[in-house]
Symmetry: C2
Subunit: 472 residues, 2 copies
């Protein structure tokens, strides 16, 4: 319900886009505040500091940990690091009042505090997070004050919107009728750093990985709504060929219909958004779901006193055979199967204490995975994003695949951090240069945003390769 | 967490039970208010009206539908039916202020409004609903005012507590050490009225039947906590022999540990509470869960325009074969299996419109079942309650089975309504007679309550038969 509402609100605001430009105010728009200096801020701060040097901007980086902010700012002459506890309204307002543009890297639910200040103090706001219903509700106020509130301006959401919209607009411009849109993305580990049986490591929010897919996935197939409950989501993956990279497993996202209207694809009969994983991942993750280890809704009794072995036993019927044998039997796989190898590698059958109090299964699993799926300092991550379009044009049918892969440098300069931070930074530059006329609360689906952002991203290796073929 | 908290609070209050009696106030305690005159109130009102005649009580039956209240009260000289919208504080308080004892049959979440009034106005309160954490919090205030707030005073919860506690206290009194307690209950259809392939009809809240078991079931086995996620709860049923009645399937309740402390069974290594169903029910219900039809968390798009057949198709992968064949294939059963016969009988493969707007799968299913599982006017329901104890006494081990079965008269005078209403009524009588000394917020686990209530219930056919055998 909430998601539907968001889409509708999004469309409404998009339709009403104010065409006023902000030229009148650009002369003083060079004072930028970045709230949050954590892992995801590195690439953004680096980009913004470079621009500051070139274009005489002044940068403030605020964090609850001022040392962290200081470490990112260094001794840049036009930047300062400051302490900020965003839960303190006066401090927050004081700092926001002194700048022109705010980039918030706070956890999603905290953007709203900053957004309300930005409305009051007439400041622009940019985030990489999903735009909530509450945020969309600020749209009228933001537009009335000629403010730019841009959300979903990172990688996914962010680059996915921009790269998809560019192709959609191109296909439509030449008269094509889009009949299918499938969009895939994965934050993976690069083959050269892939050294565990899961072929996966955490390159982003571990909690989101553990809880991924809970609820019911929805997509459109031949004009019909299709539903996949969580209990079979990871069983019902399909294989996706990423040209020149390999074949990956894809499981449907919860919200395949979320951007249908915003992308201008209202009548489309086929739409799917899905997440990519290495082959073999989905079957093993499905085993964790089947056992019950991804449930975050109840605590395990005395789990600080249990071993992982006893924890597994608690989900199995009593009976003959070791816990491992009973788990294999329950999962209907052999004890030496790939799935069991993955579970065993995690240490789920070890007689080692869990050592967390009153934790849910999901939290116990997350803690275990944090250790096992941690990036080593030199590990490189790998981002894959791929859009597949089917369209009709002059009585012919085509399939267009648009595919991008990018690797990180190491565990700090990850591809993920780069692709979240760069779009934010580039968008800030466009704002400062007065090139953005779209006010109100938006996501980056308009040409004036995606065209220059994608163009500059190419300089950083974000290149979508295209593969076009006639079908049927 | 909430459940654990409730148990602890419950124990705390129980330990502190005030021993003050209410003798000083009994002389005027004959003015009784029953809030709610629906289906579950019939047997209660009948019992209370009989007592009113015998003992010169005055009864008020309040309902949002005064005609309904009037129909239950008839022209009884000492009873009146009144209109009450419980959401109106002044009306509520005015009516409560005029009586001595309030029996609330409101939906569980509304008891609290009435309970707070009862505290302020110094009135006693009786309900058949689960006692919430918020309700337990009123315990100190209720006790300080010498008020009796008795919850869970119906069938299940209610008779289950009383009949279990009677046996537990008996076994302990003779020096027995209880090593296992398993408690089963089922609201079923009597064999003579059983005319559908599910062998089930709605004799109580349909919504609770559809959502039953969601979450993770917990119980204790050989001193170890065991967990069964919803996805396999109905697959992991076990068979229970109900002497002289038959063999039934039992699936674990969510909360098998809920009353461990309150029952005085803290160190017990085996505890299970489970629900009874006719053989074959669990496999077919599990099929509905697997398909995704019991999910109440998201709406089905345009479900008012879909047929049941199309709805089923939305959960299946596209492919060859009819929807029914694909469902059978997905469920790994043959098209003419018992499970498929049950699904087909429900009409899930019919090309008939669903005709509800923006409904969740659970709501669509509930509406379908309301029609299919409706009691005919002459149908009799059947309640089964069975406790199984294992205990050690003087170096011997025993198994005691205590079993009760009761049938209703017809679709109005159901066994269910009788067994919910009678304990409430009998308890009210005990209060009026000054026989209850336990003040504060409680559930009926104390001897002064269970002994006289169970004794009088025997007159109404509520007889637990016992089967004792030595084991091992």
């Amino acid at each position: 319900m909430e998601i539907l509402y968001q889409i509708k609100e999004g469309c409404k605001y998009r339709d009403k886009l104010s065409k006023k430009t902000l030229r009148s105010t650009i002369y003083t728009m060079n004072n930028i505040l970045i709230i949050g200096a954590g892992r995801s801020a590195t690439a953004l701060i680096k980009y913004i500091l470079e621009q500051a040097t070139k274009n005489n901007w002044f940068i403030t980086v605020a964090d609850a940990n001022p040392e962290l902010a200081k470490s990112k700012v260094g001794d840049h002459p036009q930047a300062r690091a400051i302490w900020l506890d965003v839960s303190k309204p006066n401090d927050r307002k004081d700092i926001i009042s002194r700048v022109d543009i705010v980039v918030s890297l706070l956890p999603a639910h905290m953007h709203l505090l900053v957004a309300r200040d930005c409305i009051k103090l007439k400041k622009h706001l940019v985030t990489a997070s999903y735009v909530s219903r509450e945020m969309y509700r600020l749209g009228d106020e933001a537009r009335d004050a000629s403010l730019i509130f841009m959300g979903e301006m990172g990688l996914d959401p962010g680059i996915d919107h921009m790269s998809a919209m560019q192709k959609i607009d191109e296909i439509k411009a030449k008269g094509g009728n889009i009949t299918a849109f499938r969009s895939y993305a994965g934050g993976l580990i690069a083959p050269e750093s892939d050294d565990n049986p899961w072929h996966y490591k955490f390159t982003w929010n571990p909690r989101n990985v553990v809880l991924a897919g809970q609820g019911t996935a929805q997509y459109l197939e031949n004009g019909k709504h299709k539903y996949i409950p969580y209990a079979r989501l990871f069983k019902k993956y399909h294989l996706v060929d990423v040209p020149a990279v390999g074949v990956y497993e894809a499981y449907a996202n919860r919200d395949s219909l979320l951007y249908r209207s915003v992308y201008g694809l209202d009548g489309i009969p086929n739409i799917l958004r899905a997440t990519l994983r290495h082959q073999g991942f989905c079957a093993a993750w499905n085993a964790l779901i089947k056992i019950g280890l991804t449930d975050g809704s109840y605590p395990i009794h005395d789990c600080d006193k249990l071993t992982y072995h006893e924890w597994m036993d608690a989900y199995m019927e009593s009976g003959n055979g070791s816990v491992k044998e009973r788990v294999a039997n329950f999962l209907n796989v052999s004890s030496d199967s790939d799935v069991m190898e993955k579970l065993e590698w995690l240490g789920l059958f070890r007689k080692k204490k869990i050592k967390i109090k009153q934790a849910t299964p999901a939290l116990i699993l997350e803690n275990l995975l944090l250790d096992k799926w941690q990036l080593s300092p030199e590990d490189k991550d790998m981002i894959i994003m791929q859009h597949e379009f089917e369209y009709e044009l002059k009585d012919k049918k085509y399939q267009l695949t648009s595919s991008m892969t990018l690797k990180g440098e190491n565990a700090v300069d990850t591809g993920m951090a780069k692709l979240v931070g760069l779009p934010l930074g580039i968008f800030v530059k466009l704002m400062v240069e007065g090139k953005i006329s779209t006010t109100g609360v938006n996501i980056p689906v308009m040409r004036e945003v995606y065209e220059p952002v994608l163009k500059e991203l190419e300089e950083y290796g974000v290149v979508f390769k295209e593969y076009l073929k006639e079908i049927e």
